[in-house]
């Protein structure tokens, strides 16, 4: 069977052999040979919600921006206001096109006054770096340092208990969306209290040479707490339950941040940035479409791309649809519009999802579908 990457060899993280030895089912994800599941998506998803799971996310890209003009460059190409970031703090943001849509979504970490570190999607890393470089008219040095880092994510309510066994760091003092220099099992790196699952947890960035050692140390520390390895399948269902966007689904070059419910990372007041004009206009005049959450009323799951109907009118398409393993419902997100304008639908509104030529009932529900108790 032909794959999306054709003749090109798949890229591998430093943990490829470890995943295979664990019996993971491997898939081609954006040109990377990645584990989609080990014991099963449901099992792994529920482990993250109730105990903990560990993900190899070393395929993610990293871009280092350093120099006197680093803040100005970050402010120009991203939507959130990086001037408010303290050293040691991170935030969710988007790399912007002039049309108000995103090149990618990303995490921006502030290492120093003049030093930032972006974590970006694997599938977009090269495009992101080229875009930043193209728009770098500032006194700043941008480098694609993706190959210099492995990244492991330990996520779930037991994450702190697990990490505190092996990490040399003040974990209790590390607040959500802050990071610190730390050693994990003696290996130095950057430990951030971030994640993409809707749970508490950590992401550890460190040198790829030590990947297997750190993976095994964390797995040993996590076993008594019920932690298991988790793959990209569970990562996707977890982020969907938590109502988080995935680039290529809820986000693309034709979708503005406001349309994607990302007004909270759109800081019009910070001054000029790519796409600001369009976003300012949409703030006043409204958007072309609106992202909604929905729940299927019967047992057939909705999937990406399925048409959304209300009465005799097709109002949109599903961007992400899946059974939700923890909520035990079939959920999804979709963009809805009427005549090129966002359609506002109240929770409870009945809609239909077209599944293989037949319409199945669904209803609009508030996002996120799942929110952890803090």
């Amino acid at each position: 069977m032909a794959t999306a990457t054709g003749q090109q060899a798949l890229k591998r993280t430093a943990l490829n052999a470890v995943h295979r030895a664990l019996g993971a089912r491997m898939v081609d994800f954006a040109g990377w040979d990645m584990p989609v599941e080990y014991s099963g998506i449901t099992d792994e998803h529920v482990a993250v919600r109730t105990r903990a799971g560990m993900f190899d996310v070393s395929h993610m890209g990293e871009i280092d921006i350093h120099g006197p003009g680093a803040l100005a460059l970050v402010q120009h190409v991203t939507s959130n206001d990086a001037s408010h970031l303290k050293i040691g703090q991170a935030h969710y943001s988007a790399l912007m096109y002039p049309n108000g849509s995103s090149v990618d979504d990303c995490l921006v970490h502030r290492f120093a006054d003049d030093h930032f570190f972006l974590c970006v999607n694997a599938s977009n890393a090269d495009k992101d770096f080229a875009w930043i470089t193209e728009h770098n008219r500032f006194d700043a040095d941008a480098r694609n340092v993706s190959a210099e880092y492995s990244q492991l994510a330990v996520q779930g309510p037991r994450a702190v208990a697990i990490m505190s066994k092996v990490a040399e760091a003040d974990l209790a003092g590390l607040k959500y969306y802050w990071f610190t220099n730390a050693t994990v099992a003696g290996i130095p790196g950057m430990l951030a209290r971030t994640g993409y699952t809707g749970e508490d947890g950590f992401e550890f960035y460190f040198t790829p040479e030590k990947s297997e050692y750190v993976w095994n140390a964390l797995l040993d520390a996590g076993k008594p707490e019920g932690m298991i390895p988790a793959g990209l399948g569970a990562r996707n269902t977890l982020r969907l339950e938590a109502g988080m966007a995935l680039y290529g689904h809820e986000l693309d070059e034709d979708t503005t941040l406001l349309e994607a419910n990302l007004g909270w990372i759109t800081k019009l007041g910070k001054g000029e940035f790519l796409g600001r004009d369009v976003l300012a206009r949409q703030t006043e005049q409204g958007t072309r479409k609106k992202l909604i959450g929905f729940e299927m009323s019967d047992r057939v799951p909705a999937r990406d791309g399925y048409p959304v109907w209300m009465g005799q009118e097709q109002i949109g398409r599903v961007t992400s649809g899946s059974p939700a393993p923890f909520l035990k419902k079939n959920i999804g997100m979709a963009y809805v519009s009427r005549e090129g304008r966002a359609l506002s639908l109240d929770p409870g509104q009945e809609i239909e999802i077209e599944i293989r030529g037949r319409r199945a009932p669904a209803r609009v529900v508030p996002l996120p579908f799942y929110k952890r108790h803090k």
Binding site: M1, T3, A9, G233, P301, S322, P323, P325
Partner: protein
């Protein structure tokens, strides 16, 4: 792993033929590829199915997959247990999780299907092929 009394398709279905009745399911390989199965949609008794054409869908958490009939004929029974316990397809794909029974129209249709040995060689071949594909370049 693959029972010798069954015949197999390239689309990863199996059929067991007793007299003129064929019992049809998906293979262990197929259920492993799909992962946790959460919903199965099947035809009704009395419906017609056609060789090489889709007669239902199997949905896992991550994907939806069509099921193709190895033979042409009329559906004489549908496994209603699958409706309440779709995970049975993961647990016992070649046994309790049969999907439908079909009154065969033309038994010769089964002549082109694979034996267990042939099917095992087929899926090993596919795996080797994709591994070769992955290591190219």
């Amino acid at each position: 792993m693959y029972p010798p009394e069954l015949l197999y398709t390239k689309d990863h279905e199996w059929i067991r033929v007793d007299e003129e009745i064929g019992t049809i399911g998906i293979t262990d390989h197929a259920q492993k590829e799909l992962g946790d199965i959460v919903f199965v949609e099947l035809p009704k008794r009395g419906d017609q199915v056609t060789a090489h054409e889709s007669f239902g869908t199997v949905e896992s958490v991550k994907a939806v997959s069509e099921v193709f009939s190895p033979v042409t004929g009329e559906v004489t029974a549908v496994n209603s247990r699958i409706n309440d316990r779709p995970e049975l397809v993961n647990e016992d794909p070649h046994g309790e999780a049969w999907l439908i029974k079909v009154q065969l129209k033309d038994r010769r249709e089964t002549e082109s299907l694979m034996t267990a040995d042939q099917y095992e060689a087929y899926i090993e071949g596919s795996a080797a092929e994709s591994a070769a594909e992955a290591s190219k370049g």
